[in-house]
């Protein structure tokens, strides 16, 4: 206890044009400690971490490492001080193989020409992959991996630095259940070995299970800290958002029409031999759980015609519909909000306003001219209702925090009036306050007789938001659970392909 903490920051401030991202923030972490950093979207978490990682320079304040003042001018300085950083956005290079990514910037070389020692780089990479349970060869090109696997490559890279402090900025946002478990275990292992971890996540369950201490940021300021025994859901939430959130999960009251949306024999490019069939009721939220690669996103793409070699027979109410192309799906009111929203859903160089109204711009025109005033008003309403943190409607989306970018895309889709809405990981990276808002919007849509299919890897979300849960395993639905039978235990059993008695058949013929 007497020794200086491993890292201490005092009075850190950072401003961007129009925003004070950090205002006099303090944080300290001792050796082997796991500190969770939480806060709403745009609270300044990533900015603070980027300062520690040498990406940004603070406007004021000091950083002490082992009690000594340290200057971190660039990424190399941070690495030299033993700080490894897993960024919120994936930073792997798809055109290189796994080993090249893990050791990028630190390649083992053979003298005298500085040629890469290819044997060594692969041999050195394998143990890290094993340790993470990542079952791929070190010579696989990274763009052949799934997003979750790419994330694991990033984690392998951080491990290989042998850092004293590992910063993980929402590392689990694209991982699924079992990988998340693996990562949490790893965090505990690291901490036992004396490595400190700063862990950022919007999933409070994860924080309860791994953090020794929580530091809360709100609007760029310290909003308090909690010791391990004090970490409770409600307490965290109210510290983060500065108010109580009531009815976090709203229960369904509407009458449902079972069998309204029938999917039969859906085949996706990934599992061409598995025909998936299920029924969803009008007015319900049907959750889709499963491990990585279980084929949930692929199923969704096959349904809306995004998968050219996929197929399915659909029934909406009494009507039989056939979908060849995503356009057909949109015409029928079947929407998919894709998983990869940053690349598939945003034009990041454009402003918040332009992004929000892009799909519905026709509604804001008269004789081909955009009515700016009306457009701006709608956008401003959206910003308020989703609590999007942006200086103005004209800020470039690129400069918003990760979670706020997500909110914009989601808001865009929720504003449309669908018959069937498929949401792939709707709240990835979104803070608790906004999650509550999104759950409310989803519920509202359902009450207005929309069928909602929600693919999610967030256990809490699956358990509390869905009316029923379909669990997928290797391209098949291994069972459907009614609300009463939805337990973590049951879902995990089905997700690994075990049979359980509580599970119902996915459809009645």
């Amino acid at each position: 206890m007497s020794a200086a903490p491993l890292l201490e920051v005092r009075g850190i401030s950072k401003r961007f044009p129009g925003v004070i991202a950090l205002d006099n923030v303090a944080l300290e972490i001792s050796e082997g400690e796991v500190v969770a950093l939480v806060g709403e979207n745009g609270a300044g978490k990533s900015t603070l971490m980027k300062i520690l990682g040498g990406v940004y320079q603070p406007d004021g304040g000091e950083i002490l490492v082992g009690g000594q003042p340290a200057k971190i001018h660039n990424v190399t300085d941070a690495m030299r001080l033993g700080i490894a950083f897993i960024h919120q956005e994936l930073n792997v290079l798809g055109n290189l193989d796994v080993a090249a990514n893990v050791f990028l910037g630190r390649e083992p070389v053979m003298t005298p020409f500085k040629l890469i020692d290819r044997k060594k780089i692969h041999a050195d990479t394998e143990p890290y992959l094993k340790r993470l349970g990542l079952n791929v060869s070190s010579s696989t090109r990274v763009d052949q991996l799934s997003i979750a696997q790419q994330q694991m490559v990033e984690i392998a890279k951080a491990l290989s630095l042998n850092a004293r402090l590992i910063i993980m900025d929402e590392p689990t946002s694209s991982l699924t259940l079992s990988e998340t478990e693996r990562l949490l275990e790893l965090v505990r292992e690291l901490s036992k070995q004396g490595v400190s971890v700063i862990y950022i996540s919007h999933r409070l369950g994860e924080i309860q299970s791994c953090a020794d201490r929580v530091i809360v940021l709100r609007d760029g300021k310290n909003a308090g800290a909690l010791a391990k025994e004090e970490i409770f859901h409600d307490r965290l939430v109210s510290m983060m958002v500065g108010r109580e959130i009531k009815n976090f999960y709203t229960q369904s009251t509407a009458a449902k029409t079972p069998g309204y949306f029938k999917v039969r024999n859906a085949r996706s490019i990934r599992f061409p031999d598995q025909a998936v069939s299920f029924d969803a009721a009008r007015g319900e939220i049907l959750g889709f759980a499963g491990l990585v690669g279980a084929g949930r996103s692929e199923l969704a793409k096959a349904i809306v015609g995004l998968d050219p070699s996929g197929s399915s027979d659909l029934n909406l109410g009494e009507e039989k519909i056939s979908i060849r192309h995503p356009r057909d799906a949109i015409e029928r009111g079947i929407y998919l909000v894709p998983e990869n929203r940053r690349t598939e859903g945003l034009v990041v160089q454009m402003s918040v306003r332009e992004n929000v109204t892009l799909p519905s711009l026709k509604n804001f025109t008269r004789l081909g001219w955009i009515q700016r005033k009306r457009e701006r008003k709608t956008v401003e309403e959206q910003i308020v209702s989703l609590r999007i943190k942006t200086p103005t409607t004209e800020a470039a989306v690129m400069n918003l925090s990760g979670g706020n970018q997500q909110k914009i895309v989601l808001g865009k889709w929720l504003a449309m009036n669908p018959k069937v809405m498929i949401l792939d990981e709707p709240t990835r990276g979104i803070d608790v306050g906004a999650k509550a808002e999104i759950y409310r919007l989803m519920r509202e849509l359902a009450e207005r007789n929309t069928v909602i299919l929600m693919i999610s890897s967030d256990m809490e979300e699956i358990l509390h938001v869905s009316d029923r849960v379909a669990v997928m395993h290797e391209g098949e639905i291994s069972g459907i659970l009614d609300r009463a039978d939805c337990t973590e235990e049951n879902i995990m059993q089905l997700a690994v392909g075990k049979k359980i008695s509580a599970a119902k058949a996915p459809f009645s013929s």
């Binding site: 190399t76 690495m79 290079l93 055109n95 020409f113 890469i116 490019i269």
Partner: protein, 318 residues
């Protein structure tokens, strides 16, 4: 490797067809001539390829040829510099210009297209001004016969530019595919920010690629000047950057950066030269020259694109 195989096949087919129609194609004289040209074009195409791999472009190559050619001629015939000094200067000038491009692009973040477009205009203008729009030459090469003989000479029966290309290609193959620097080139081309986050000095990597391109342009420039033996500053080297870009793209470099190989660039260069030769030998009107080349580049790129789409689909299936 698969990527290069497709274009190699195309090259082989073209050669076979041309040889079948006109046996002159495989005569020693013709093959030597083609090899010579492949050497000339291949050297600077490799430099351009590296720049393209970083996600950049260099449009100023042709104008650099004019400028360095004019300077070389002046240095040798008017100023009577010793030939090694003149040759070194003809290499150093493009390198220096390449360094300026690299500095402006990596430091000031000006787009490579714009910087090198300015270069294209400025160097051409300078070349014409310095030469006062007169065609320059080397006369009887008095005092620098050695330099001329080197550039026009042969080694093991192969024309010197081709030999130099083989040596440079071998070195650059190791640089791009086996060295740390080459890996950083590919990394920067794919995602500069992610590369910087790994603690790599991405600015230096980018700037260096332009310097290397300058170096190779300089070497090519000397060979080209002696090959044409007369340098008319207003059209010497005109459009050559486009041959280089076409060769690199045919050879699998992506203009988006992050993809490309030395072997591919070599095959791409060879393909373009064989095409030119084919136009001559088969009696196709030479006015159609560019049209034929454009069509083949288009077909090559399209075929490659389709093959990739196919294999991407197959990869998902597994």
């Amino acid at each position: 490797m698969k990527k290069e195989f497709g274009i190699f096949l195309l090259l082989a087919v073209l050669c076979a067809v041309t040889a079948a129609i006109n046996p002159k194609f495989i005569s020693a004289v013709n093959l030597t001539n083609i090899a010579n040209l492949i050497g000339l074009f291949g050297i600077f195409s490799i430099g351009l390829g590296l720049v393209i791999i970083t996600g950049g472009i260099d449009l100023s190559v042709g104008s650099m040829f004019a400028l360095s050619g004019v300077l070389l001629s002046l240095a040798l015939t008017s100023w009577h510099w010793p030939w090694p000094v003149a040759a070194a200067a003809a290499i150093l000038v493009p390198m220096l210009l390449g360094w300026c491009h690299g500095w402006l692009i990596s430091r000031l973040k000006i787009q490579p297209f714009i910087i090198t477009l300015c270069g294209l205009l400025v160097y051409r203008g300078l070349a014409r001004f310095i030469a006062q729009d007169n065609t320059m030459g080397f006369g009887s090469a008095e005092g620098f016969e050695t330099l001329r003989d080197i550039t026009k000479g042969k080694l093991f029966g192969l024309p010197m530019p081709f030999v130099i290309l083989l040596v440079i290609a071998a070195i650059m193959w190791f640089v791009l595919h086996r060295s740390v620097f080459g890996r950083y080139l590919l990394a920067v081309g794919r995602n500069e920010e992610a590369t910087r986050f790994s603690g790599i000095n991405t600015r230096r990597v980018i700037a260096t690629s332009y310097v290397i391109a300058g170096l190779l342009t300089g070497i090519s420039g000397i060979l080209l000047a002696f090959y044409t033996n007369s340098i008319s500053p207003s059209n010497h080297g005109n459009f050559y950057e486009l041959y280089g870009i076409a060769a690199a793209v045919l050879g699998g470099c992506s203009l988006r950066g992050g993809e490309g190989s030395i072997i591919g660039i070599l095959i791409g260069t060879a393909l373009l030269q064989v095409l030119q030769n084919l136009v001559n030998l088969l009696g196709i009107p030479s006015s159609l020259n560019f049209a034929v080349m454009g069509a083949v580049v288009f077909i090559g790129v399209l075929a490659d694109h389709l093959v990739q789409l196919r294999s991407a689909q197959r990869a998902v299936r597994i």
